[in-house]
């Protein structure tokens, strides 16, 4: 009984969605309230069965992640339109909401919510309906392990990196289902391309990350960030970083690798037949996935939450959004690759380069 309670407390410690943030905001005047809340929080696990508590923590974490994703995507869509707009001598959204069209993405989302839910006749109904959910869920789940700061992480599992990449490959299945179930030839072509692309890009992506594991000697995301306290891995693994950037953009299907939804070729690729809320899920997960890739870059190469003066959480977001800015910049600059060129580039250039990088890393580590 007693041991069980201690486990529960330990579980809460690992669970980590608490204290840190609230503690930082504490002021002298409401110290008493905060203290008593802390007290209740600490003893919460002892007041209910452990399963309930775990479920509760999971629910809170999930809710926090979904709210964060929604806000982040709303901001990111607006940000991207602004940045691309200025790069293209336009201004981007300017009117909705008053200040530089800040409410544009909110308005767009509302529009998508209010649209009629159309399921075309002739689609493979269960597959068609499940696809956006699978894509969205697999993206959300990856957020669980992302360490936003030292304490702000929903679940710090000891092989976080593998978890993120494994889970975000599930997206492919969802996208393939969407393409297959839509009963549309363009969607089908898009689905075929997704399958080909992900198989190609997953391999160099993981290989580029492998060098980081070797240096950090751990698979835990927090551990990797801790290991970069003094020097960021982008300086120790420059080749790995470049491969990661290329393969990461390929992984999230954005220009120049937006081959599965190439609008000038396949109309809209796998989501041609989707509209309204179902389309919103694809849209949401594309941007959410972008953030996963960016935050992984931050964690693996850019030193995670480390940085002077500002709190870790802010540093993390700054780095992640800089990486997102890079993706937007690339999108505004480059034309799209062709399917076969993309594959050739991946297998003939990226993969050998990644292996070479790994070899050199290993040799240097053995020598030092």
């Amino acid at each position: 009984m007693c041991g069980g309670r201690r486990d529960a407390v330990a579980g809460r410690d690992a669970g980590g969605v608490r204290l840190g943030r609230r503690g930082e905001r504490t002021t002298e005047s409401n110290m008493g309230l905060i203290e008593s809340l802390k007290f209740i929080w600490l003893f919460l696990p002892n007041l209910m069965p452990r399963e309930f508590y775990e479920l509760g923590v999971m629910a809170v974490a999930f809710l926090a992640v979904v709210i964060f994703i929604t806000l982040m995507v709303l901001f990111m869509v607006w940000f991207e339109r602004k940045v691309v707009g200025h790069m293209q001598v336009r201004r981007g959204p300017l009117h909705t909401g008053g200040f530089h069209g800040w409410a544009q993405s909110i308005a767009d989302t509302l529009k998508l919510f209010l649209k009629e839910d159309i399921v075309p006749r002739g689609v493979d109904r269960p597959v068609y309906i499940l696809a956006p959910l699978i894509v969205f869920m697999s993206t959300v789940v990856a957020y669980i392990v992302i360490p936003f700061s030292k304490s702000l992480v929903a679940r710090d599992i000891n092989m976080g990196v593998l978890f993120v990449f494994a889970v975000s490959s599930v997206t492919t299945i969802g996208i393939f289902m969407a393409g297959w179930g839509s009963n549309n030839k363009y969607s089908l072509l898009g689905a075929m391309r997704v399958a080909a692309q992900i198989v190609s890009y997953e391999v160099p992506l993981l290989l580029s990350v492998l060098g980081v594991f070797m240096l950090a000697q751990t698979l835990s995301l927090s551990g990797i960030v801790e290991a970069q306290k003094h020097v960021w891995y982008v300086f120790l693994q420059p080749v790995g970083f470049v491969i990661y950037v290329i393969a990461g953009i390929g992984e999230v299907n954005r220009l120049p690798f937006d081959i599965p939804e190439a609008e000038s070729e396949l109309v809209a690729g796998f989501h041609t037949e989707y509209s309204g809320l179902r389309f919103a899920f694809f849209f949401l997960s594309e941007y959410a996935n972008m953030f996963v890739m960016s935050s992984m870059a931050t964690v693996l190469f850019l030193g995670g939450w480390h940085g002077p003066v500002l709190p870790g959480f802010v540093w993390f977001l700054l780095k992640a959004f800089s990486f997102m800015f890079l993706m937007v910049w690339v999108r505004a600059t480059y034309p799209r690759l062709r399917v076969d060129q993309m594959m050739a580039f991946c297998w003939k250039i990226l993969l050998p380069l990644a292996f070479l990088n790994l070899l050199v890393t290993g040799l240097v580590m053995a020598a030092v």
Partner: protein
């Protein structure tokens, strides 16, 4: 293990597709990503312009020609007017000829800019589109000063042009030209020097010299295949013999060559406009014309180097106030016939590049 059965897939590209540039329908038979057969299906934008011309007077037909290749209306005006002028036997004032050349070359620039932007967009680069439309906006502004319209000009008339070129127009054009070459350099930096762009276009959509000639393609598509044929030099009209310009040609006849030819043509067009502005003589902008035009009985054919290729107008007159028959040789329509030859063994993505590199305008294909 049972043998896997593979089948080819028929896919309709258009008439509602983002990169068929209008209402062109392509019937593609594909095996995986590879295109094994393609046929262009035209006619969705047929308005019967040739037939309409028969029930209108000669001058009422000029606005109809604006609606052929609607991104370069001036060229269509000029080709039609040149044909009818052969039947009218008028002497066009020199100033009018110069203004015509300026207007037509401005139209060529506008047309090539629209093409460059949308072609880059077809390949997935979306920024050049906006840049090109920025330049085109200046051209349209200048043409608006010249004739009051931005797309459907109805400007070039029998015996001259509708209005004189004002100093404001000359100034606006010069201002535009002063930055234009630098802007073209910028586009080339974005595209010609981009490895992805070069990979997507080099060696794709090959049209050999012999094929190009036997399909009777014209314009940049023909020159891209290495045939040095430009009506401005080989069958001169207006005051082109006095202009100094180079005719760029490609070597292999792939998508990249057609792209390079058009970009070089833009620089040459700017050069021609500069020369024409410098040499713009004083004088009348139109000859004295009767109120009711009744060309002599007979027939006439005129052809000019339009931005898309050789644009020909065959006009038959029975001596009344409206033409007996007008036949238009539209370059886009004839170039389109070479599409299946160009897209042999192409991938779906190449189809878009090849089609984009031909620069067709459906208003002209379907007339």
């Amino acid at each position: 293990m049972p043998e896997l059965k593979t089948d080819s897939l028929f896919i309709n590209m258009g008439p509602q597709h983002p990169s068929t540039h209008g209402v062109l329908r392509l019937g593609l038979t594909i095996e995986g990503e590879r295109v094994v057969n393609v046929f262009p299906d035209v006619g969705f934008l047929h308005r019967g312009i040739e037939k309409l011309a028969e029930s209108r007077t000669y001058i009422q037909t000029i606005p109809l020609t604006d609606r052929l290749d609607y991104v370069a209306g001036m060229s269509n005006n000029l080709a039609y007017v040149l044909a009818v002028e052969q039947l009218l036997d008028v002497e066009v004032p020199r100033r009018a000829e110069f203004i015509r050349v300026i207007a037509v070359e401005m139209s060529r620039l506008a047309s090539h800019l629209v093409w460059l932007g949308s072609f880059a967009n077809d390949l997935g680069a979306m920024t050049p589109l906006l840049y090109c439309f920025r330049e085109r906006e200046d051209i349209l502004d200048a043409l608006e000063i010249l004739c009051g319209a931005r797309m459907t000009f109805n400007y070039i008339r029998f015996g001259g042009v509708a209005r004189d070129a004002t100093p404001a127009f000359v100034e606006k054009t010069r201002k535009f030209l002063s930055t234009f070459d630098k802007r073209v350099d910028e586009y080339e930096e974005l595209l010609t020097e981009n490895a992805i762009f070069v990979n997507r276009t080099k060696g794709v959509g090959l049209l050999t010299r012999e094929e190009a000639i036997s399909y009777a393609v014209s314009g940049p598509v023909l020159r891209g295949s290495g045939v040095k044929w430009d009506l401005r030099r080989d069958a001169p009209y207006s005051v082109y013999p006095e202009m100094d310009f180079v005719i760029p040609t490609g070597e292999t006849g792939d998508v990249f060559d057609r792209y390079a030819v058009r970009v070089m043509e833009m620089r040459q067009a700017a050069r021609i406009i500069r020369q024409a502005l410098d040499g713009l003589p004083e004088g009348d902008f139109t000859a004295k014309m009767p109120r009711v035009l009744k060309p002599r009985k007979g027939e006439a054919y005129s052809r000019i180097e339009a931005p898309k290729g050789e644009l020909g107008f065959y006009v038959m007159s029975d001596g009344t106030a409206s033409p007996y028959r007008v036949k238009i040789r539209a370059p886009s329509f004839i170039n389109l016939a070479a599409l299946p030859a160009m897209s042999k063994g192409a991938l779906v993505a190449d189809m878009v590049a090849v089609l984009g590199s031909m620069d067709i305008v459906l208003g002209e294909v379907d007339r």
